[in-house]
Amino acid sequence: MTPSKPIIQRIALVFFTFLVFSIANVNAQDGKALFMSKCATCHAGDMKSNSTGPALGGVRERWNDEGKLHEWIKDNVALTKSGYPMAVEISKFSTTTMDLFPSMPDADITAILDYVDLKFNEVPKVAEGGGGGTGGGNDGQNAVIFGVISLILALIAFILMYVNSNLKKLSDDTEGIERPEPSPFYRNKVYIAIFAVLMFVVGGFFVTKGMIGLNRQQGYEPEQPIFYSHKVHAGINQISCLYCHGNAWESKTAAIPSVNVCMNCHKTIQSYEKGPELFDKNGNKVNGTAEIAKLYEYAGFDPKNPDAWDPSKAKPIEWVKIHNMPDHVYFNHSQHVRVGNVQCQTCHGEINEMDVVKQVSELSMGWCVNCHRETKVNFNYTDSTGNQYYSIYEKFHNDIKSGKMDSVTVKDIGGLECQKCHY
């Protein structure tokens, strides 16, 4: 039974190490939970940036005396009053004083400080690269392949035609038939006729298309003063469209947010780290943190001194307007978004997946009219979710009841009246 002894010892050792590690782990976990519940509202969770309170990374090294640090955490006001220099200095960080934690046990404070050290020294995870920019390359490759194939086919057709005419000439020669010298192809009336008709069709198509396209901007994708990604904001971070464009609910235009709305979040979010890599429409990589710095320039915000920010000094950002209606068309957002319950994406496309916003819809009259022909109106005037504005249309109601109509389209309630849009 002697060989079993070392095995037991080893197992015991492994078990012991495991136990030690798990205890350490539990401590760190505790520290995290405590940090989240007591500190995280004011101290940034990455331990590196200043928030309402200063960044906590390396706080132990700065304080030297851990006992005094514990005193500060328990009752910072008393420590400042006692004149301890470090405490006096930190109390000047902000006008907001830190909460008091007089009954917090020392073990908890140690656990929190351990977690702070752990988090501060953690190597940041590198964001996984997005697959952006490859789609365009694929399309280009396909076009090249198609071009080469059609060129080869055209070449083969040309060679075959040449061979055919030579063979014919040869057979004519052997049979002794005299034919007049064929006229060159550019004098051949059939060729000229075919060419003219073809040019007329192709040219006419493009001319008509160009004329229809006048004053329409489908695909318009201008460069904006700041690379603002709707994908990151509305897609990944799930910010409601109406958070920034709240006026779409109550007015003709969907508001372009003023700088203070951006700063609601970007006062705290000072760098772009956790999202996917960003690419502009030419496939160039975009540095998100540098774009946030551009916002700070407009806002007059100094990330090192957030408390001193004065929103009234901010300069407006000159965004380029993409969706333009001609002057002779009246379009009202609230009428569609609030009354008609139309989703933003119906007209603007999948904005929440666009890094660079592009006009997806035609915004032409035919496009508008088509939607008005098809969209069913939600009357539902007995309950509050319905559209009570049109509740006077008793006739439709009765017609539907008696089976004369099965539904009411926008057209039926005046959606095709010229004056709805042109006046």
């Binding site: 509202t41 940036s49 908890d108 298309k209 396209g213 372009i256 956790k274 407006p316």
Partner: protein, 210 residues
């Protein structure tokens, strides 16, 4: 002669096509621009030199003291430490029974839920338990002693002027809407007060025991 005609026609067609396309960087051309572009200044339309010189921009504040139609009486407590203390005694001027909580919920979900969470638990998509981009932890609005004890007036003050890492929401929500949101949060707290007391006690015990 015919050939010449065809060639001119083709070049013309190509020229028009190129001119009208314009590429994705430019808005393209318009036929009869005086019918397309407004003579009067349009909201958010590009501003010309004259407008720029006058200093008018899309995010101008309304004239001081103006009250929008349908809005509540303006809030007069200034942004200051004493203002914060005074704000605690301000009561909600709206008739609680007349508030449409469904509308208040909509406003909450759009403007507040992003950080404070759709369930008011302080864990919205921007924070995601510390995994999201927002580094400061938003306070939970239910099951939290601090939020439960906060008066309507203090809450309104914080929504109006911002507090800590939270910005001012006065430009996104008008006075009436802000009171509605406060009423919504308070109505949710009232519903959860009983479970809050139950879960709060053992948590305090465990920290005391250590």
């Amino acid at each position: 002669m015919k050939k010449l005609f065809v060639i001119t026609f083709c070049t013309l067609a190509v020229a028009i096509t190129i001119v009208s396309c314009g590429g994705s960087d430019k808005p393209g051309r318009s036929y009869m621009p005086d019918m397309s572009y407004s003579v009067a200044y349009e909201t958010y339309a590009p501003s010309d030199e004259r407008l720029k010189a006058s200093g008018a921009t899309y995010n101008h504040q309304p004239v001081k003291g103006s009250i929008a139609r349908g809005d509540a009486f303006p809030y007069t407590i200034p942004k200051s430490d004493s203002g914060y203390a005074r704000a605690a005694f301000v009561k909600n001027p709206l008739n609680i029974d007349s508030i449409n909580l469904k509308e208040a919920e909509r406003l909450y979900l759009i403007n507040c839920g992003i950080c404070h969470g759709a369930k008011l638990d302080g864990d919205g998509p921007l924070y995601k338990g510390g995994e999201g981009p927002f580094t400061a932890k938003p306070i939970p609005l239910v099951n939290d002693e601090k939020a439960n004890n906060m008066t309507d007036g203090t809450m309104f003050y914080s929504v109006t002027y911002g507090k800590g890492q939270m910005g001012s929401y006065a430009s996104q929500l008008n006075t009436k809407q802000r009171w509605e949101v406060v009423a919504y949060i308070k109505s949710k707290q009232a519903k959860k007060v009983a479970p809050a007391a139950a879960t709060g006690a053992p948590a305090a015990d465990t920290t005391a025991a250590k």
